[in-house]
């Protein structure tokens, strides 16, 4: 069975003054259609590098990326990208920023229809009243709302988000997570989101992919998040399962991320080293 998106034996090598540096090595991951995957790992391990390769913004050194049966070779509007800094073009208003993409993707639609598309997505993210302001007049949170609207308005096949809420305060972050979930549920876009926030990963994702530390980073472990949707933040926080999964992720980041998984054993089967913790984790629903 073919997958929606398949990353196979992905390598990324950067030339550096000290010689080539292999940042990502043998990275394998298969996406189901409509799946939301969170990618976590320590800062600098290569999460953004993986995401950029999927976006087509970085070349693949070795291995391949196949999206709906086609090899990814360049960037394109079928993959909406939400950057960490929203990267709105400061000389355009929020509306014009969204329109830049809409004009590009819906070039057969009439001018009026295109305006309506942009306005629709801007109001979905709560920017109906501020859409004709420049980014400089918008708060960080509002800018990121616009970044999300811009990505969704392209009606892409999938979404790529690189720590989109990393620079926001907690309250704004939670608001925007809900905005994102709302939009995502509307049309079940396949999504890959880089984050270093374990709670964010648990709240949003269907699966959390844990990356080992670089260089030569790869998939260390994958955790299936079984919570039904639509999810409710408060109910999650009352669920003991939530804390077990949370512990599992944190344990990975603290202890296990430093080693590449042994090649012969599938990552999911890698047991925790310590015997006490071992029994604890064996009881978890790990895929």
């Amino acid at each position: 069975m073919s997958h929606f998106l398949e990353l196979s034996q992905l390598h990324k090598t950067f030339p550096t003054p000290k010689g080539p540096l292999t940042v990502v090595k043998d990275f394998n991951l298969k996406f189901r259609k409509g799946e939301f995957i969170a990618l976590i790992g320590h800062s600098g391990c290569g999460k953004s590098t993986v995401l950029s390769m999927v976006a087509g913004l970085e070349d693949v050194s070795r291995g391949g990326i196949v999206l709906t049966g086609k090899e990814v070779t360049s960037a394109g509007p079928d993959r909406g990208v939400v950057f960490q800094a929203p990267c709105l073009l400061p000389w355009f208003t929020a509306f014009e920023n969204v329109m830049l993409g809409v004009d590009q993707v819906y070039y057969t639609a009439s001018k009026l229809e295109r305006r309506q598309i942009a306005e629709y997505y801007l109001s979905l993210v709560g920017l109906a009243d501020a859409m004709h302001k420049r980014p400089a007049e918008l708060s960080q949170g509002m800018r990121q709302r616009c970044g999300i609207a811009r990505a969704f308005a392209l009606s892409p096949k999938m979404l790529l988000l690189d720590e989109p809420f990393g620079m926001l305060d907690n309250l704004t972050k939670m608001e925007l997570q809900d905005v994102l979930l709302d939009l995502w549920q509307r049309d079940q876009k396949t999504a890959l989101m880089v984050t270093h926030d374990v709670d964010e990963a648990l709240y949003l994702a269907d699966r959390v992919v844990m990356m080992t530390d670089g260089p030569e980073a790869t998939v260390g472990d994958i955790l299936e998040i079984p919570f039904p949707r639509p999810r409710n933040r408060r109910e999650l926080l009352e669920n003991p399962e939530y804390y077990r999964l949370r512990e599992y992720l944190i344990h990975f980041l603290n202890e296990r991320s430093h080693h590449r998984p042994a090649p012969s054993i599938p990552p999911a089967a890698t047991p925790a080293p310590d015997s006490g913790i071992k029994r604890f984790f064996n009881s978890l629903s790990v895929v």
Partner: protein, 263 residues
């Protein structure tokens, strides 16, 4: 609010003290250089040009602002040629490593050449145009001398375009033209305007030399005339006029520049 007012008052007061010191220095110099006119005699000699700034008493005998406007028109023409040529060259330098490798040495060699050296070449270039050679030669000189800051600042600006902005364009698969005019040019504008401002300064600097060489009527010619007629006070008046006009031009460009910086 109050401290803002105090600050402004202090600035004005200090500026006035500066002007006062300037006149003291002038008076002191009068003791060493007997041919240097005093402030009073300068004022008396130049009064007619200042109090009737737009008077036209003949081609060689006009009010200061009338002369200045003639110079400004010539500067404006040369300056726009400089921008029209300089900005695209700057873009090419910023965009292409190979273009830079090819042309940067030439740019660096031509950049420090004085307008006095360019002008004869300009004349030669346009000799075929007959009566117009003087005008074209002048424009050529202004444009060639003034375009370098625009070239270099534009190139720096293009190289400084944040990769993120370019990525936005790549994700959207913008056409080359859209990429240029919707992303690259707006992103470079703040740098370009720094270049434009510096270029304008040079264009205004060059005008005096050009008018002295061509004998075209204007504020530079006014000084040349004053020198020939041993009317030394007018030299000083000419210098002050050039300085003040240059300052005003620079301020105006700064305002425009600042507007683009915040945008």
């Amino acid at each position: 609010m109050n401290s803002k007012f105090q600050n402004a008052a202090l600035s004005t007061a200090l500026a006035l003290i500066g002007v006062g010191l300037f006149f003291l220095l002038w008076l002191a110099l009068n003791r060493f250089a007997p041919d240097l006119p005093t402030p009073t005699s300068t004022w008396q000699g130049a009064r007619i040009y200042i109090v009737e700034p737009f008077a036209y008493r003949g081609e060689q005998d006009q009010g200061l602002l009338s002369l200045t406007s003639k110079s400004l028109i010539l500067v404006a023409k040369g300056y726009f040629i400089a921008l029209l040529i300089g900005a695209p060259i700057g873009f090419c330098l910023g965009l292409s490593k190979n273009f830079t490798r090819t042309f940067d040495p030439i740019v660096q060699v031509l950049r420090p050449v004085s307008p006095l050296a360019w002008f004869p070449l300009g004349m030669v270039l346009f000799l075929g145009t007959g009566g117009q050679a003087l005008e074209y030669g002048a424009l050529f000189t202004i444009a060639v001398c003034a375009m370098w800051p625009t070239v270099l600042n534009t190139a720096v600006g293009v190289r400084a375009i944040p990769q993120d902005y370019l990525n936005v364009g790549r994700v959207l698969r913008l056409s080359k033209t859209k990429m240029l005019f919707k992303i690259m040019v707006p992103a470079t504008l703040p740098y370009m305007f720094t270049g434009f401002r510096l270029s304008l300064g040079i264009a205004w600097l060059v005008i005096v030399a050009v008018e002295m060489l061509t004998g075209k009527v204007g504020i530079g010619q006014f000084i040349q005339d004053a020198y020939m007629n041993a009317n030394y006070g007018n030299i000083i008046v000419g210098i002050l006029t050039i300085g003040i006009v240059g300052y005003i031009l620079d301020r105006l460009m700064s305002v425009v520049e600042a507007r683009f910086k915040t945008a």
